[in-house]
């Protein structure tokens, strides 16, 4: 039984190797590459907008500001004596009080928007060049 299996195994190997490989048409490679070239624009390696270093800087800045704001909250002010409420239009003696926390939030949001708009615009112009 074992000898038969071995002989059959050898016979099958010879048969399959004798059959060899079939070849596709001559323009097969050209056809595949034409299809692949169409896909080229669709395939882009994912690159995050903010890379690892960027995230580290953001986290570091966040920690520093959190520490500074909590440690020196009484005497520390980036915005100085700005009174944002004075920028608002006063109509019919309407008064709007803008809290200091809101002013800080607005200030940081502004900073991030300016930075991000700059990064995004650079990224778009780079992708259009490619």
């Amino acid at each position: 039984m074992e000898a038969e299996n071995k002989k059959l195994d050898q016979f099958t190997k010879e048969v399959i190797q004798d059959a060899g490989l079939a070849s596709p048409s001559v323009d097969f490679l050209a056809n595949v590459m034409a299809e692949v070239s169409k896909e080229k624009t669709a395939i882009k390696v994912y690159k995050p907008l903010i890379n690892k270093v960027g995230w580290l800087i953001i986290v570091a800045l966040f920690l520093i500001f959190s520490f500074v704001l909590t440690r020196f909250s009484l005497g520390f002010s980036i915005l100085g004596d700005w009174d944002l409420s004075s920028l608002m239009i006063k109509k019919h003696e309407m008064k709007i009080d803008i809290p200091v926390t809101y002013a800080y939030c607005f200030f940081f949001l502004l900073v991030f928007v300016i930075i991000q708009v700059n990064i995004i615009s650079k990224r778009f112009s780079r992708s259009l060049e490619n």
């Binding site: 038969e4 002989k7 059959l8 060899g20 079939a22 596709p24 097969f28 056809n31």
Partner: protein
């Protein structure tokens, strides 16, 4: 100069050199086409399946992690694409009846096969393979031609190691009987004429 590996070409493609893919297509096109042909059974569909496979593989190249060989990954895609094609065409291959095989008979068959001209032999084997179920044709090709291990084959066709072993055993018996029915009469008639 050292020859570039598949991984080298993949890195080139990932860095934007699409032409590096042509090297991989050229390297594997015959094997992919043969596997597709043995699955779907005709050249037109096989060419379409092989082409689709290369395009699919290109699109999914970023998902290839390199834990298996690139060729194994490609064979898995061509196998699945061929199955989709077969499902679409809904072809069914009838199973061959398996009789006992005796060692002496195999020797006679080897003589009979060597009697055939190379081109005739190739065509006879191809026709015999087409009478086997699609999965078994692929198993035989991957094991006896590409010499992949049972483990690698089980990853490609998604069946267990033991199942691959059993199916291989059964398919080589079937192939033997199919060939015997075709080749032996020719061989015997030639012998009687002598």
């Amino acid at each position: 100069m050292t020859q570039k590996t598949d991984q080298d070409y993949i890195l080139e493609i990932r860095s934007g050199n699409v032409n590096a893919y042509a090297m991989l297509v050229n390297k594997y096109k015959d094997m992919m086409f043969t596997l597709a042909l043995r699955m779907v059974g005709n050249r037109e569909d096989a060419e379409e399946v092989a082409q689709d496979t290369f395009v699919k593989a290109y699109k999914a190249l970023d998902t290839f992690k390199g834990t298996s060989k690139f060729s194994t990954w490609l064979y898995r895609i061509v196998y699945n694409t061929s199955l989709d094609c077969i499902k679409k065409n809904k072809r069914v291959v009838l199973s061959e009846h398996i009789d006992e095989i005796h060692e002496a008979d195999i020797g006679v068959m080897q003589d009979a096969m060597s009697y055939l001209e190379a081109k005739e032999k190739k065509q006879t084997i191809e026709n015999a393979l087409l009478q086997l179920p699609e999965e078994e044709r692929v198993l035989l090709t991957l094991f006896y031609f590409e010499e992949l291990s049972l483990k690698e084959i089980s990853e490609i066709v998604k069946i267990s190691y033991d199942n691959v072993k059993i199916k291989l055993h059964r398919s080589r018996k079937k192939l033997y009987h199919i060939l015997k029915n075709v080749v032996e009469p020719i061989y015997l008639s030639h012998g009687s004429r002598k």
